[in-house]
Amino acid sequence: MTNGWSWIRIATILVYLFLFAPVAVVILLAFNANQFGSFPIEGFSLRWFNSLLHNDAIVRAFKTSLLLGALTSAISTTIGTMAAVAMVRYDFPGKKAISSLLIAPILIPEVVLAVALLLFLQFLELPKSFGLLLMGHVVFTLPFVLLVVQARLVSIRRDVEEAAMSLGATPIQTFFEITLPLMLPAVMAGMLFSFTISFDDITGTLFWKPGGVETVPTQIFAMLRNSISPEINALGAVMVIFTVALPLIATAIARHMSAQRMKAKTQN
């Protein structure tokens, strides 16, 4: 048996190596002083990061991505949370159908979704716009928020809300005083999910973005068509740090907050 386990251990390590080695290579090469990305690295340099900062197209793309991600997560989280409350707490006709409709974007290939939304827009004779791009991102980040918040809400006992209402809180006050604080971790997680998914997305974005607007992924894609510039390695490194650091920071903040509360508790 021990032999079997050690094989599994080796296989696991290999799989992770296979997954993360390319990412590590990109980050390493980002600090390479040489113009041509090859090993061994010849000297440590931040010149590619510096040239990123002075590349207007990239800076513009970065701003677009941040704005798009922030708006997507704000809208998705709001709608997703409200939908989750409706699904878990209320009964209405067509509930099952609406539920599967909201979850569907996860199951449908993104390309299909992208083309469909584009065709729909053409049918309405509307031009591509930032608004459309935003709408697309909301559509396919919504299921993640919905699923995460729904799972949390199911575990919040209904009688806690009933107790609040019996004490004189209106349903709206009950939501903000009781339900929302109790499901806040899930809402935060949903927000983070939708931001990183939007920030990373390329398939849908390529179809939906209006001419002249680039997000970071589409900008990298465009730059790759010409040549593999070391700038891309630097940009890749920034993206990796950004998408990995954000959830980590969020988790750390959440930990800190709950630790504060625990501290307040144990003082008594």
């Binding site: 006992r157 009688d159 806690v160 009933e162 107790a163 609040a164 209402m165 019996s166 004490l167 004189g168 809180a169 209106t170 349903p171 006050q173 005083e177 009781i178 604080p181 109790l182 509360r261 508790k265 008594n268």
Partner: protein
């Protein structure tokens, strides 16, 4: 003031879920200051009734009146009720102080008054020093006291308790039972208590409402309901009863014989005969603990002795439960143990006094 009012009145209240009728034509009053208990097996409609009073469940038909005001359409947050749940339902993210102060925030009470009222409530439930803690730092019994404090601090018109003791372990449950009753007396708040536990119901209530299948089987003082059940269901649900069909064999004198099907004759009282309107066909209800076992025949003018044999014995500590074969059937008997219980196979006499032979009408219900 002066005149005794009803805190809650239900007039012909019906609750239907589609084709299923959960509560059928309920007429009920909860008098001021009184402690009313809904008792019944699960699914009998007692919780549905409580939730209708609370405003958590719509009423299909009929009128619900709280303090002389029809409240059918009044939403729960405007009803001024205190609600206590089986699982406490404290707000886990708020301190005990904030939990209790919650209802006061919506009642335009000044900060200083809130602090004072919360303190009084904590004193009343005998947990004066837990205001800064969170619910998960308290034991189950303590949490239920806080839930009670939170419900009464708003001075509710009616206090509604939905199986509040069921989640507690046995010893704590009895302690809380006494405590709950003390607090209710002290405040004089009209209280509706839902339970499936007959000892809780008998010990605490001013008025007992026994429900089954969405119907009120019987209501009255606990003693009255216990001693004079009006149906076989009530007789059997409260304690253990032997219910045997028979026929009156007398004119309703002070002591009247009842001939059981199968030959044995029991005695009953004029009061019981009048309860069944002198109907010939009756069912005799004899509570298991009202049959006295003895190894001698001690029959008298108003007590019959039936010879029998002990079939099985359950030892319960202070009590023993016997299954006795006598007069061609099995009887359930619960007797205190005098030194040691009768053994299996012992020949004994069952003594049944006339006043302990309760009659029900003979038709099946």
């Amino acid at each position: 003031m002066g005149e005794r009012q009803n805190a809650v009145e239900m007039r012909n209240v019906v609750k239907r879920y589609g084709d299923f009728t959960a509560v059928k034509r309920m007429d009920l009053t909860v008098p001021d200051n009184s402690f009313v208990t809904f008792l019944g097996p699960s699914g009998c409609g007692k919780t549905t009734t409580l939730r209708m009073i609370a405003g958590l469940t719509d009423i299909t038909e009929g009128d619900l009146v709280i303090r002389d005001k029809r409240v059918n359409e009044l939403p729960i947050h405007k009803r001024n009720l205190g609600l206590v749940f089986q699982n406490y339902a404290l707000f886990p993210h708020k301190t005990i102080f904030d939990n209790i102060a919650f209802g006061l925030k919506y009642r335009k009470v000044s900060k200083a008054d809130i602090a004072q009222k919360v303190k009084n409530a904590l004193d009343l439930v005998q947990l004066p020093n837990v205001g800064d803690r969170y619910p998960n730092q308290l034991s189950g019994g303590q949490q239920q006291r806080i839930a009670l404090a939170r419900a009464i601090v708003i001075q509710p018109d009616v206090l509604l308790l939905d199986e509040p003791l069921s989640a507690l372990d046995a010893n704590l449950r009895e302690e809380m039972r006494v405590e709950l009753k003390r607090i209710q007396r002290e405040l004089g708040v009209a209280t509706v208590f839902v339970t499936h536990d007959q000892s809780e119901a008998l010990a605490m209530s001013d008025k007992l409402v026994v429900m089954n299948n969405g119907v009120v089987e019987q209501e009255g003082a606990p003693e009255e309901v216990y001693n004079n059940p009006v149906s076989a269901f009530v007789a059997d649900f409260l304690g253990h009863s032997n219910i045997i069909a028979g026929a009156l064999a007398g004119d309703g004198g002070e002591v009247t014989p009842v001939e059981l099907h199968g030959g044995q004759t029991l005695l009953t009282t004029a009061h019981q005969v009048s309860r069944v309107n002198n109907q010939q066909q009756v069912r005799a209800v004899i509570r298991a603990e009202k049959i006295a076992l003895s190894d001698q025949d001690n029959s008298s003018a108003d007590t019959v002795a039936i010879p029998g044999k002990v079939k099985t014995v359950d030892y319960l500590g202070q009590m023993a439960r016997y299954f006795v074969t006598a007069a061609g059937r099995d009887w359930q008997v619960i007797n205190p143990i005098d030194y040691r219980p009768f053994g299996e196979g012992a020949d004994i006499f069952m003594h049944i006094a006339a006043r302990n032979c309760v009659l029900l009408p003979g038709h099946a219900d």
